[in-house]
Symmetry: C2
Subunit: 431 residues, 2 copies
């Protein structure tokens, strides 16, 4: 008898990966819970796509209602795409007035690249090390965790991740300027290579880089440097956006900068494939001189109805404030947990986006990569779905649906403490 | 008071285009009909995305049902993606056993490019002139209708569209060989440029090229040449696929070839954003040696439930046979219409994918481009939604939902005859 795993390999091939040594066969979702085929319940601590909770009835109903009426494309006039664009751009400062739609975060970043090139006339890109922005060919070029430097064009230059825990200038009071100096150096490298910067692009919470604490004025300085060199700033808000960080609706706001282009994706319509670019009139005007834009499945009535419902639920259920509150509660208790468990080297993040960095040695910060993988699998067996991130895959990534409350945080904390106890190993404390 | 058009420009920017001089404000769809805000009914002769009809209740219900239960990604085990992969690959000959999922046709072609490069170790691409395959950077490189030769890398070479009406070797009995010789020359150009072919890619109905009649053995010869040079054949079935051509389920079958990679999109889930690549085990095995594949919104339970429903409706309503029958009826009557209207230079196509090429002169085939645009707009005002294609935008493109019947064909024929009458102009007949 063919197992589900064998059947999957036969039908989808070998390129597909599964989470966990013992993959989970999920059949149902509700709120922060996922249920497997045996009826076992898992707390979802990882999935940001079901932003307002798995199968939120308001979003399901919005999709169902509109799917019965009309679902066609943006080459006919329709009000829902405009209603959504209006509601979405209202969340941004004046200037960021225009919304363009795509289906995936990758497609949003593809469009952002085209916009930045058209608006500046330049083709250079500055990216952080170990960044993730998507999987198309052009976006993989700016996804430093997938491509090695020699696989990228000489129009793409990386800068060190501004990490205050383990970065080049960790714990250095002048870290902001020192990290920003690398952006200046990147501009000069581009010029030496015969390019000028079209844009600096960062995920504003640096999720794939391990959610580092970023020195407060770093991004302001970096953006100033890039703008002086004729480039734009693209804020990739696919992960931090829509209030996840609790203190602000968008991640860039925490850095005191205003982007020229913002890209949005995953949580935008709670799982219906929707993404967007928000930008300025001058940028789209420049782009539209030589190009037009169409994406068959993007900005359709159903996609926009689903996305509108997500914005409404965020407001009605006050989910940004909830993310801040639950996040602070969880953060404080994780800090307490760290005093009992030496393996926890750092706890950081904001709202419902928290990283727990695990180390074997507090002096040399040797990453506890193997232990992190063990913890992820132990937690899976204990009914907690979580995963890891960062250059060394040693950062537990906590990124649950926004309806995650203190009671869910308590369950996570209890299971995490138990799992940490189980893998307790000698850790070198600060000497 | 801001009009809908002004509001759209303010919120979406200038890069978005609308169909028709007097754009249509569509608010409802049902079967082959679209309805505007004033309640006026339009016959949809153009949209292939609503493959089984606008808002088909079976597809709407499949989406609604699954959206209430679960909609998460392919890093957990789930049976619906496998059920769909099984049902989909069963429509292909043995060997084309593996399905991989994306969200848009562009993303499917992105993945196909990566697969072909990985499987062959080559990076050369052979494409037809005026081809359309999508809008990402890499796919725009193989989309010759968007990019000029000088904007493309020297690893991409075009070949003439194998057109029997106005092509290089129109009406030439040796056309198949003569057109195929250009594929051999393209291979040699690639080699001179330091490349070898990864793949030949064609839309198997050459929709953007104007739906030409292709000499019967052309594609066999072309594919043989490419395979001998170490390349693969990618069949882009985004437009011809899922039975539209009536005689076969896939466009490549009409050419007596079997592809190595097939890409699918638009009609696949009746408007829910779904696309796929179908390929062989050796191709995915080669790809997975150095890469893995994940696409957040792709292959989800809801996406696959919608796609499964489309396959079921196609079978239950016998829509492929219906497309053949309606198509033949329409084709014959269009041929009759051509005898009364000199502007019709050619009628061609299969099933519910028919092109009507309009000319000003039957000797030199001067394209009636302006007249075609006029006709499209006249028909819009008479309640028929249609559009044009081809290098000269002088081919009326008939590509309605698959439930289009003889009664709808009659209405189209009647309105088309009236509109042709209205713009009747002197046309030079064959001398």
């Amino acid at each position: 008898m063919e197992t589900l795993l064998e059947r999957r390999k036969r039908l989808l091939g070998k390129a597909y990966r599964l989470f966990y040594d013992n993959p989970v066969h999920i059949v149902r979702g509700e709120g922060v819970w996922l249920f497997d085929a045996d009826g076992k319940r898992y707390l979802d601590v990882y999935n940001n796509v079901p932003h307002v909770g798995h199968c939120h009835p308001r979003v399901v109903e919005a999709i169902h209602h509109q799917a019965q009426i009309l679902n066609t494309h943006t080459r006919y006039l329709h009000e829902t795409v405009l209603d959504y664009a209006e509601r979405l751009t209202a969340r941004f400062p004046a200037g960021l007035d225009i919304a363009m739609f795509a289906c995936t975060g990758t497609e949003a970043n593809e469009l952002a690249l085209r916009l930045a090139r058209a608006a500046t006339g330049n083709d250079g890109m500055i990216i952080t090390e170990h960044a993730y922005h998507g999987n198309s060919w052009a976006v993989a070029q700016i996804t430093s965790c997938y491509t090695k430097a020699e696989q990228r064009g000489d129009n793409i230059v990386t800068v060190p991740t501004p990490d205050m825990f383990r970065g080049l200038y960790a714990n250095d009071k002048a870290a902001a300027q020192k990290y920003a100096a690398h952006v200046q150096a990147a501009v000069e490298t581009l010029v030496r290579n015969g390019h000028r910067p079209a844009a600096l692009i960062v995920d504003t919470v640096f999720a794939n880089e391990g959610l580092p604490n970023v020195p407060p004025t770093y991004l302001q300085q970096a953006v100033d440097i890039v703008r002086r060199a004729g480039g734009l700033f693209i804020a990739d808000e696919v992960q931090p956006g829509f209030g996840r960080l609790g203190d602000h609706f968008w991640g860039y706001e925490r850095h005191g900068v205003v982007p020229d282009i913002v890209t949005l994706g995953k949580p935008m319509a709670n799982g219906y494939p929707v993404s967007a670019v928000v930008t300025t009139k001058p940028v789209t005007d420049a782009f539209s001189r030589d190009a037009h834009y169409f994406n068959t499945f993007a900005g359709t009535p159903v996609a926009c109805a689903a996305a509108l419902a997500v914005l409404e639920v965020i407001d009605q259920q006050d989910l940004v404030a909830k993310a801040l509150k639950t996040g602070e509660y969880l953060f404080d208790h994780l800090k307490d947990l760290a005093t009992d468990h030496d393996m926890i080297g750092d706890v950081r993040g904001s709202g419902l986006f928290i990283g727990i960095e695990l180390v074997r040695d507090h002096d040399n910060l040797e990453p506890a990569t193997v232990e992190t993988a063990k913890l992820v699998n132990l937690l899976r067996n204990r009914g907690i779905l979580i995963n890891s991130t960062g250059l060394y895959d040693n950062v537990l990534k906590i990124r649950p649906p926004m309806i995650f409350g203190a009671e869910h945080a308590d369950l996570l904390l209890q299971k995490l403490a138990g799992a940490l106890e189980e893998i307790r190993a000698p850790v070198h404390r600060k000497s």
